[in-house]
Symmetry: C2
Subunit: 335 residues, 2 copies
DNA sequence: TTGTAAGCGTTATCAC
DNA sequence: GTGATAACGCTTACAA
């Protein structure tokens, strides 16, 4: 019992394949009654059009490819959620191509593999300025960037600079010396992301405006253990210092803030009293642990990215558009 | 400048499309010289065959769909690595379909969407016994299960029972009372996974064989915060007890063991001296933190799953096969 | 409003 | 060995 084709549907409905195709694509005027008949035949046979055939026929495949990095963080799960929701509403299927490492990215960039055979492309996090500039993105499909931006393409991204400013403005109102922990970005050129750089710039801008300065800045790689060690080093320094407590720390990612929270509690310090801690991300556990942090509308960013792409697919031909999303401060016990 | 087709290649090489197709698919005998000419034309035009057309033409699309859950853990990153490596070697493209929630799984199960249009299907973690039994998997493509098993399908999975046995055998040799922390599985029927159940069964088997028993068993949900709280509760109980230390704890996932490591250090207890801790998973940080744990050959499991599928695609028609992978104990400072 | 037929880019089956 | 040519399942003119 093979899967039904458009022929089978046409036959069962007693119409031509053209008509079936028309109702499938909401084309022109099809007489309501015939439409009904066709729809019924489709339901009876449990027919679904073959996307490959659709694509081949010069039409659309109703398929979107999403290229994104490692995938092991909450952030991408949320991003995917936003993207999928929007595409699903528009009846597009989404396939994901995880770029596990640089060689994978190169591979996708270099060949016309499956990822490029979709109607549109979403690229996450990679700042492809260079790639676009060198015209190495060898595809004619509409492409949109999420969590990254370029002048040459539609993009939907988080305003990390504004987030840094919010953190700085709030930190300036808190007691004690100011400290900051940044994320070490070891990503190479291709994988460049301005995320943490932007947060830092914004933070410093706000402090400058408030006439304040940071005592010491620390850097940790994006990893629980490293974060914990950095947190310990920071608290060592602060506690060693005369009148070092209370102090205020901006940890530029919740992963960092969480480690600091742990380390502070171990030392018998109370967050929001001895150590004021501001995180960034608002991870799922942040509320439970009372972490003051910057919440990012990640799903919304993904959703909007999808909308930009869908508008291109719908025929929009205008210049590249940028959608910027604003993080907002969520004040909890830790600060 | 549109993408070149097989026609363009044929024309440039001065041969028929059939010949080009033959060299593309390593078919029959093509005269070495013509083969060269064709290959050159392909290179010149930077031609890549269109997978949709290939699929449509009744052939293969050289595409594999991988259906897997959330994606936010190291485990899946490693699994994907194994799968991708194998498929890439065989020149297959892989597309990922993340099943973010139950409704997504239902959707993929219920329709003939893109995921089903691939040459083969890999399903991770879901125990699809029921789905297979009810014939709800509406596809004729070869399917293989990873990190799960059924009698009805090829599968590649970890022998969690044996892992539990190893943990139990080793724990039985360690001093003090025995404790265990299990993972609470809140997944519903469709998402059933026997992983933690198996680890527990194996652990108890080994203890029984050694004539030992567990003092108390704890349960935590798979979440850092919950794990930490459970670890605290466990240590409270142990420390309250007369001669409670030293003791030995089997934490059935490294996430749990890590929390216990933290909590023990906070209390001034030395792992491997006051508290003997055995984890499960061998996460990347386990070595750095000196955690004794069970290492799983996850990449190998993925690689083998791919091989099973490839053999089906290569024409294998025999009965379902099962490949079981053995975890092994890695002894470090914590026990 | 609807049926017919010509593609779309491949593979596979023929003859030569 | 190799070149035509008929599928494959669909969309889209073009007629009717």
């Amino acid at each position: 019992m093979k899967t039904p084709t458009i022929q089978d549907v046409a036959q069962r409905a007693g119409v031509g394949v053209g008509t079936v195709s028309r109702v499938l694509n909401n084309h022109a005027a099809v007489k309501p009654t015939t439409r009904e008949t066709v729809l019924k035949a489709i339901a009876d046979l449990d027919y679904t059009p073959n996307p490959h055939a659709r694509r081949i026929a010069g039409g659309k495949s109703y398929t979107i490819s999403v290229l994104l990095p490692v995938l092991t963080t909450e952030f991408y799960a949320r991003l995917l959620d936003g993207l999928e929701t929007a595409f699903q509403e528009a009846r597009y299927d989404v396939a994901i191509f995880p770029l596990l490492d640089r060689s994978r990215l190169e591979r996708y960039l270099a060949s016309h593999t499956l990822a490029y055979q979709a109607d549109g492309l979403v690229m996450a996090t990679y700042n492809l300025t260079k790639v676009f500039h060198e015209r190495r993105l060898r595809t004619q499909q509409p492409t949109v960037l999420v969590d990254a931006h370029t002048d040459d393409a539609d993009c939907s991204y988080m305003d990390n600079l504004a987030g840094g400013v919010l953190a700085g403005e709030y930190a300036a109102t808190l007691p004690g010396g100011l400290y900051a922990i940044w994320v070490e970005t070891e990503l190479d050129q291709l994988f460049t992301t301005h995320v943490f750089e932007d947060r830092r710039t914004g933070f410093h801008q706000a402090l400058a405006a408030a006439g304040r300065r940071v005592e010491t800045e620390y850097t940790a790689s994006f990893d629980t253990l490293a974060a914990r060690n950095t947190a310990a080093a920071l608290l060592d320094d602060v506690q060693r210092r005369e009148g070092g407590l209370p102090c205020t720390v901006f940890a530029s990612a919740d992963l960092l803030a969480g480690a600091l929270l742990d380390e502070a509690r171990v030392r018998g310090l109370t967050p929001g009293q001895d150590v004021y801690i501001i995180g960034f991300d608002d991870q799922p556990w942040a509320a439970a642990r009372g972490l003051t942090t910057l919440h990012q509308p990640v799903e919304a960013m993904g959703y909007e990215a999808a909308q930009l792409l869908l508008s291109r697919l719908g025929g929009y031909r205008g210049p590249a558009r940028a959608r910027r999303f604003q993080p907002h401060l969520v004040v909890r016990d830790s600060a």
